[in-house]
């Protein structure tokens, strides 16, 4: 009887110190096949790593929440297929996304080149306000490195991208890159709550651009 779930005091934080704003964003992962997009998501969402991650044929969907000081950010993550033959379907997923992680493999120069074309495509076709992060994955394999860190850094800097070298295997910088995106995303204050989870339907109803529909509600 001591702690009743209904006590109003339980949810009214008197000093307001713990008040949180809840924001929801659609994030898409893009990049050449086998650079580790799914592995990054798996590490971020479930804290796991599979040495032989199956290739994604489609677009996997997962959610994960991160806490910032004053905001709780919920990511709806679309992990896309990297194979070239599915390239033409990518806009289905980056349309309406507020954030993107473009991934390459630091041991493969070609994947870096491909990443650059993805960035170009996003800059041209995606929402102008999209937050793009560049992730040089497989940083645990630095012995086989083919993409220079500074070169990638300079490229990211020029293009206004967030940049980190990550390792889904060792977990290095994985949560960090998502957190960095969460921090950079604009948390527009919008009145009223959002409807049912946005960004999940990628079909017919997507005609209206939803680039600015990052939904924020206040919660206590």
């Amino acid at each position: 009887m001591a702690s009743r779930p209904a006590t109003a005091s339980g949810v009214q934080r008197p000093n307001g110190a713990t008040q949180n704003k809840l924001c929801q964003f659609k994030l898409v992962l893009l990049g050449e096949s086998a650079v580790g997009k799914s592995s990054l998501v798996l590490r971020f969402v479930k804290g796991q790593f599979h040495e032989y991650q199956e290739s994604t044929i489609g677009a996997a969907f997962l959610t994960q929440t991160v806490m910032l000081d004053d905001t709780t950010v919920k990511f709806e993550i679309w992990d896309t297929a990297g194979q070239e033959r599915y390239h033409s379907l990518a806009p289905m997923y980056y349309r309406g996304a507020q954030a993107a992680i473009v991934v390459y493999d630091i041991t493969n120069q070609e994947t870096f080149a491909r990443a650059k074309t993805w960035v170009k495509e996003l800059q041209r076709q995606a929402s102008p306000s999209i937050v793009i992060a560049l992730a040089g994955n497989k940083s645990d394999l630095s012995a086989k490195r083919m993409v220079d860190h500074d070169e990638a850094y300079a490229y990211a800097d020029e293009n206004g991208l967030l940049f980190m070298e990550t390792s889904a295997k060792t977990a290095m910088n994985v949560t960090d890159i998502f957190l960095a995106i969460a921090k950079k995303l604009p948390k527009a204050e919008q009145a009223g709550g959002p409807g049912p989870a946005q960004g999940r339907r990628v079909g017919l109803e997507q005609d209206t651009p939803r680039a600015t529909q990052n939904c924020c509600i206040y919660t206590t």
Binding site: S3, A6, P196, A197, R201
Partner: protein
């Protein structure tokens, strides 16, 4: 939509028309014919009522004769905020009480009841009236099943009740009528489902239905947090001094109260000081006004501990009962939701000579309630005292911003006052009691204490605690002395004045009476406590909050729809080529079907749907058909999806020229989940069907001996004059009919055999040195197919409108022919000549020009968009255009 009252009317009408329901008729032999019977139907429905499904007869109460009365109940707790309706019948033993909050909606309800009582009609109570008005439906009692069974005619209504119950209420009707009042109680007490799993359990269901929204999720997290409060709160101890005194209507004079209120070295953080019988005058009783409030308040202020500054939190008084709560000045701003309330239980069950007054507030994460009471007097009235306690418990209601709270809803409760419980005279008389008290053998006397006794019995103060009593009884003294009551009554001493508490985190430090005060016939009592208040620890809170979020994420991800796609033979393919469906060689007009299986391997039902890619108009290419396009699969079940590839006149052209390939990616979308790509691959074997006239007239070799590149070149060539005047394939077909079928009856109207048409297709692709296979009808159909498969019809699209306009004039029609490319014109003239030849044999083959014109109009002027709906007018004009060339005399002269 009809309004709700007409639906109610419908149900009532159905009841009235039932054969058993007739005035003056004897029903089931239970009642004499002179008496009329009535039934009280309590209809329980959703609000708002939109359809009869929302309405059902929830409960039945038989009423016989005219002993059906309705009254506003004055005895049973009526005050400013609510009133009680008493309904009496002669069959149901209990009186029906309906307690309602005051307001226009309850007035409507009352009006209905009174009207029903007056007219002796069916009386219905709609929950609509009660909804949201009062949670106090406990008073409603209904006839037991046994009582109802006595009246056989009621069975009809019982049945009706079952049928009209919405699905979810089936249990209800099974349990029978007598459980109804229980149901109301249950719904009133909030479920104690503060277990993590319970909370999550609700969520599981809603997530499984895909209803979880950001906001809903937030609520769940709040619930989880509330259930884990102890994990992120620290306890902070506050000193609370509770004091109570029945002052017997005396003025304080210059009395110093510090011995009562400031008897500890450390100043308490909070004071809750209760008085009873502050003023016994009639004015106080009738008008609730008394000068003594101010007098006592002054003395109390002076008596507070000097070691701290105090500020009044709240003062509440009902006649003689007064409660003052003080807090240290620096704590005042930490108090939230400070409210006071009172309940009278005295004369008429509501006057303020007895009852309780209370103050509540929230400090950090803990809610605290102080109740000062004065319960019924007289030795033998302990049951009334119990009843007063219950009344205060159930009726005292705080109206807070976010809902109502009762005393029981608080974390910490201090309940004190003149409770008037005595030493049970049956077990100990006054003389013996006084003797034992003299010897300070308080425990022996307390063994016969009515309050202790009633608490043991569970009749009052359930789950409340009281500390050990090591002080003399506080009642009854001769005022001005320390002597026991010396009046005639010679009352036995008693501990009337008590302090009890309930809630985790209260520790009593002391509990004492102050005998030095002789002003009243009661002694003041006070008790010091440490009250442990839950304070949020921001670090711990963040951790727990984050954990809750993680858990939600985990659950949400776990409950995402999951399926596996099983493509026959797909397992053999390298992983990255999984989800590919190979159709192999595809030939014109030869459908091939393949199936694959989607299995729901997740924990929730899956709704899947093939969705369009980006800005595509269709889910897949025009040579592919998917069945079904959407499906619903329960966990553990599978669904078979059939794909059919068929290249026909619509798609052959584009495939021939490489504008389209036999390759498509299907997007299989799981609602609220991921997308799966399924690739469809085939290899099209080009055929003459779908080739253009201009390509065919330049094609010397059979199409099978031409490379795809050469074919595309021919198609792009746009050579005005060809090697041949007309496509050789056309000539072969027409020639064959010429040779074997000019006199065939129903030519062109008989359907050919599919198998033969495919053989003809293969023959045309190769052109071997054998006669064309197949019957005349099959060849005729192949001819239609060839004409219709020309990507640009014999009459090119851009001339269609002209043709339709010109159709009525042969001259105009002939003019149009001049606009045709040479090869097209040749084909047109060739076909028309052939048709005229056929018509020359009409006595044998029975063909008519109008029929042929209609048939060939459709194929020689076929529509550009294959999905165009047939239009009779257009078809007729096309036929007229062709007709001109079949019947006019001068044909051929200037062509």
């Amino acid at each position: 939509m009809p309004n709700s009252s007409s639906w109610i009317g419908e149900v009532l009408k159905a009841l009235l028309e039932h054969p058993n329901w007739k005035e003056g008729e004897e029903h089931g032999g239970q009642v004499s014919p002179e008496t009329r019977e009535f039934v009280i139907l309590v209809m329980d429905g959703r609000v708002p009522i939109l359809s009869p499904e929302n309405l059902h007869v929830a409960h039945l109460i038989p009423v016989v004769g005219n002993l059906f009365n309705c009254d506003i109940d004055t005895e049973n707790g009526t005050d400013d905020t609510e009133f009680c309706v008493k309904i009496t019948t002669n069959i149901t033993e209990p009186v029906i009480y309906v307690k309602l909050a005051r307001g226009h909606r309850s007035q409507n309800f009352i009006d209905e009841v009174f009207r029903a009582a007056q007219n002796k009609q069916i009386f219905y109570i709609l929950s609509k009236f009660c909804f949201g008005l009062s949670k106090d439906f406990q008073g409603v009692k209904f006839a037991s099943t046994a009582e109802v069974q006595g009246l056989s005619w009621l069975r009809f209504y019982e049945d009706l009740k079952r049928h009209s119950s919405p699905g979810g209420d089936e249990q209800d009707s099974e349990r029978g009528i007598d459980s109804v009042s229980e149901d109301f109680k249950n719904s009133d007490t909030d479920g104690e489902g503060d277990e993590d799993y319970e909370v999550v359990g609700v969520e599981r269901e809603s997530m499984a239905k895909g209803m979880t929204t950001l906001k809903g999720r937030d609520t769940i997290i709040k619930c989880v947090l509330d259930s884990k409060q102890e994990q992120f709160t620290d306890l902070a101890g506050y000193k609370v001094l509770i004091a109570t005194w029945n002052v017997n209507g005396q003025s304080p004079g210059s009395i110093c109260l510090s011995e009562w209120l400031a008897r500890t070295p450390e100043p308490p953080d909070f004071y809750a000081i209760g008085f009873q019988e502050l003023d016994l005058s009639k004015e106080a009783f009738l008008f609730n006004e008394t000068p003594k409030e101010a007098e006592w308040l002054t003395r109390v202020k002076e008596g507070l501990h000097k070691g701290a500054h105090y500020k009044k939190v709240k003062l509440v008084r009902l006649v003689g009962m007064m409660l003052i709560v003080y807090a240290k000045e620096n704590l005042i701003k930490s108090l939230k939701q400070v409210h006071m309330e009172y309940v009278g239980t005295g004369i008429l069950g509501k006057m303020g000579n007895k009852g309780g007054v209370a103050v509540r507030f929230e400090l950090e994460e803990t809610s605290i309630c102080f109740v000062n009471c004065h319960l019924a007097a007289h030795v033998e009235e302990y049951q009334r005292r119990n009843q007063d306690f219950q009344q205060i418990s159930t009726r005292l209601t705080f109206f807070l911003q976010h809902g109502i709270k009762y005393i029981k809803d608080h974390d910490l409760i201090f309940w004190f006052g003149d409770m008037n419980y005595r030493i049970n005279p049956q077990f100990m008389d006054a003389i013996e009691a006084k003797k034992l008290i003299q010897q300070e053998k308080y425990q022996k006397v307390l063994d016969k204490d009515q309050l202790k006794d009633q608490m043991r019995e569970g009749n009052v103060f359930v789950n409340f605690k009281e500390g050990p009593i090591n002080f003399k009884p506080t009642y009854k003294y001769d005022p001005g002395t320390d002597n026991w009551d010396s009046s005639e009554k010679n009352r036995s001493p008693a501990w009337c004045d008590r302090i009890l508490w309930k809630g985790d985190g209260i520790e009593q430090i002391d509990y004492t009476s102050l005998n030095a005060y002789t002003l009243s016939d009661h002694k003041p009592v006070s008790s010091l406590y440490t009250a442990n208040v839950k304070v949020i620890n921001p670090t711990k809170y963040r951790r727990v909050y984050e954990e809750a979020l993680k858990k939600m994420d985990k659950l949400e991800n776990e409950f995402l729809p999951q399926v596996t796609v099983d493509i026959p033979g797909g397992n053999l393919a390298p992983h990255s080529n999984r989800n590919e469906i190979h159709f192999g060689k595809i030939r014109f007009m030869e459908p091939i079907k393949k199936t694959f299986t989607v299995a729901n391997t997740g924990q929730v039902p899956v709704r899947l749907e093939f969705i369009r890619k980006l800005d595509d108009l269709y889910v897949c290419k025009d040579w592919l058909r998917i069945e079904p396009l959407a499906a619903f699969i329960q966990p553990g079940e599978t669904c078979e999806i059939e794909l059919q590839v068929l290249v026909d006149k619509k798609s052959a052209g584009n495939l021939n020229i490489g504008k389209d390939t036999m390759y498509d990616i299907l997007v299989l979308h799981l609602e609220s989940g991921k997308d799966i790509f399924v690739t469809v691959i085939g290899e099209y074997e080009r055929s003459v069907f779908g080739c253009s006239i201009s390509a065919l007239v330049n094609m010397i070799d059979p199409i099978t001996s031409i490379s795809p590149g050469k074919l595309i070149e021919l198609e792009k060539g746009q050579m005005p004059m060809g090697v041949y005047d007309i496509p050789k394939e056309l000539w072969f077909l027409v020639d064959r009919i010429w040779r074997m079928g000019m006199q065939k009856e129903s030519l062109f109207t008989q359907v050919g055999l599919t198998e033969e048409i495919l053989q003809i297709r293969d023959w045309l692709n190769v052109i071997p040195n054998t006669p064309i296979p197949g019957s005349v009808d099959s060849i005729a159909e192949a001819l239609f197919l060839l004409l219709e498969s020309f990507p640009e019809p014999v009459i090119p699209f851009n001339l269609h409108l002209k043709c339709l306009d010109a159709a009525s004039s042969y001259t105009s029609c002939k003019q149009i022919l001049k606009l045709l490319p040479a090869a097209h014109r040749n084909v047109f003239v060739y076909i028309c000549s052939f048709l005229r030849e056929l018509l020359a044999n009409s006595d044998k083959n029975g063909l008519e020009p109008k029929l042929l014109a209609l048939l060939f109009g459709r194929v020689m002027l076929h529509e550009q968009n294959w999905n165009t709906k047939p239009n009779q007018k257009v078809d007729k004009d096309k036929a007229t255009f062709i007709y001109q060339f079949l019947v006019n005399e001068d044909y051929g002269e200037d062509l």
